[in-house]
């Protein structure tokens, strides 16, 4: 198979080159980029809150003093007993949870079954996008590997207000795709049946976004 793969590579590239022979080869610099690199937003956290909520995620606004209480309240209402806490989540967020819930740390790696049976996961995120109501996880410290935010039914995500940007261009400028990344806008959803939106298919059914104002 190795051999034929090499032939295929040369054949495809050769075919592409002969298709392009004689044609204009554009320069990337000449691509027009007259769209808005920044979008004027009056109040970023407010728009973010509004847009996240529109996709039926629950949004909570608080400050760093009130955040632990808010998180505990969310977990309680979700009846979450086993809560996954990724590595690198600051102690100021994880400790209060550990006092009242069974926290599951991913070291050693939690089994799929354990994750499947966990009730919730608490993470931070890398950036929030106001215009689209999106949180972006780069799965670094405080966010955990991807399975952690995929299998438990409830995802609670802490978003520092200072990490909220206006729109997609500003967000991508903050991100470096060296590892996996997940953009999340509301809970898992489908519109495959008569275009009617239903939340909660394979990803977490409930997404709670906790905006922390003074971080």
């Amino acid at each position: 198979m190795k051999r034929s793969s090499h032939d295929a590579r040369e054949a495809v590239l050769g075919s592409v080159r002969s298709a392009l022979a004689g044609g204009q080869r554009g320069s990337a610099d000449s691509i027009p980029r007259e769209y808005r690199g920044r979008r004027h937003v009056e109040a970023l956290p407010e728009l973010f809150r509004e847009r996240v909520a529109e996709y039926r995620a629950a949004v909570h606004t608080t400050d760093s003093a009130g955040a632990p209480e808010t998180v505990l309240g969310v977990l309680e209402r979700a009846d979450a007993r086993r809560v996954v806490v990724p590595e690198g989540l600051p102690a100021q967020w994880s400790d209060p949870v550990a006092e009242r819930h069974d926290t599951l740390e991913d070291r050693p790696r939690l089994s799929t079954t354990t994750l499947e049976n966990a009730d919730a996961v608490l993470t931070t995120c890398t950036v929030g996008i106001a215009t689209t109501g999106t949180i972006v996880l780069d799965h670094g410290p405080g966010q955990g590997r991807r399975a952690l935010t995929l299998l438990p039914d409830t995802h609670v995500c802490l978003v520092a207000a200072s990490r909220v940007v206006d729109d997609v261009p500003a967000a991508l400028a903050e991100l470096d795709p060296v590892g996996p990344m997940t953009f999340i806008s509301g809970p898992s959803a489908t519109s495959d049946i008569e275009l009617e939106r239903v939340e909660g298919v394979h990803g977490p059914r409930d997404l709670h976004v906790v905006i922390v104002g003074d971080v």
């Binding site: 298709a19 808005r36 399975a147 806008s185 049946i193």
Partner: protein, 484 residues
Amino acid sequence: MSGVDLGMPTFPDAARQAVRDAQLRHNLGRATSTIRNKRAAVVDELDDWEQLRASGAAIKAHTLSRLDTYLERFEAAVTAAGGTVHWARDAAEANRIVTELVRETGETEAVKVKSMATQEIGLNEALASAGISAWETDLAELIVQLDEDRPSHILVPAIHRNRSEIREIFRREMAGSGTPAPADLTDDPVQLAEAARHHLREKFLRANVAISGANFAVAETGSLVVVESEGNGRMCLTMPDNLISVVGIEKLVPSWRDLEVFLQLLPRSSTGERMNPYTSVLSGVTEGDGPSNFHVVLLDNGRSEALADEVGSQALRCIRCSACLNVCPVYERAGGHAYGSVYPGPIGAVLTPQLYGVESEDTASLPYASTLCGACYDVCPVAIEIPELLVHLRNRTTRERKGWFDRLTGTAMRGLGWVFGDSKRLGRAQRIASLGGRLFGRRGIGRLPWPMSRWTDARDAPAPAPESFRQWWERNRTGSGDER
């Protein structure tokens, strides 16, 4: 690659059946109007939509103009990030590569993320014949697969089915391939989605191989981007230890920054959302997170040939949003199956003939499956001039096809062209026609024999005027300059 007979009826024949299916017309009309309105609302929100659209078109056009360079760059980046890149000239080669990659894992099943490329090459069927079960995990794809049906829409493959039909399919078929549907399943979409979650959960947690496509492939970083809603994509890209992604060579974008354009254009155009629920970015292998064995199969399958056509190559900009399907009045009446290809609607009508040639009747009928109304171009996020492409491909069809009917039409068109080449000839033809017109009087013509019956079966036809405008002008305005 050209001259592939998809073995389907021609568009007019297939559409005739579809138009008579009242249930189908109802399902489609309802679904397309819902999504049309959603799209319009979120597009109107952005005052720089046209600028985004121009950039999207330019980025894609630029990438295609240097595709060889970007393909090599992408390959190098994926390889450096721990992945393996394979190249496939055509469907058979891609299927062989994927089959062997699955076999090497020792597994006999794989979970699949919805992917147009793998549908295009008929991967599921190829895997099945090698004894490998490929489970579709997108809800609509699951419906289609369970029913052994064909997808009829790029984004919502089961758009032709309504909730009660879906309930029947789940109750009848789920048990045959895993967790059965609950006995008391109703046609409530919430319950139907729950049944799908339950049915597929077991497969996600068990599977060791996933197969995906990609919405974008970033040459600079070797990243694959998968845009989805349900979380089945995240499941497939995260849980199994082996991932095989089949990616058309036109999916490339040069740099990470380019996604800032497409991640605005795609969700708004396709699902009518500001952002789709989940977008996964995967850049090679990451220790401890997701697959450790990662393969990308770069698929040509007719694309490089389409690239050679200066006008036709525009179709390769397509980001598979399906906005053109949702606004197309022909698609809305005929449905996706009538196009006989995994790519239905206006984009299918320009893509399919380029990927498979126009030698067979079915693909040759596709460029004619449009009134050239232009609604598709207006909504296309990468500004593909679909009406112009359709006309271009019609021209290719008339030049390449040599059947008796094509020759007959060609002769008639040449004759008519000759008449239009000279006003004296046209004047003579009009005088003959107006004689006929006087016979009919000014009443409409009821029923005529074939081929004019194709008009008059449902519509009256106008009789030629007793006096053409030209004759009137000559009589009233030339020579003496008489007024009426």
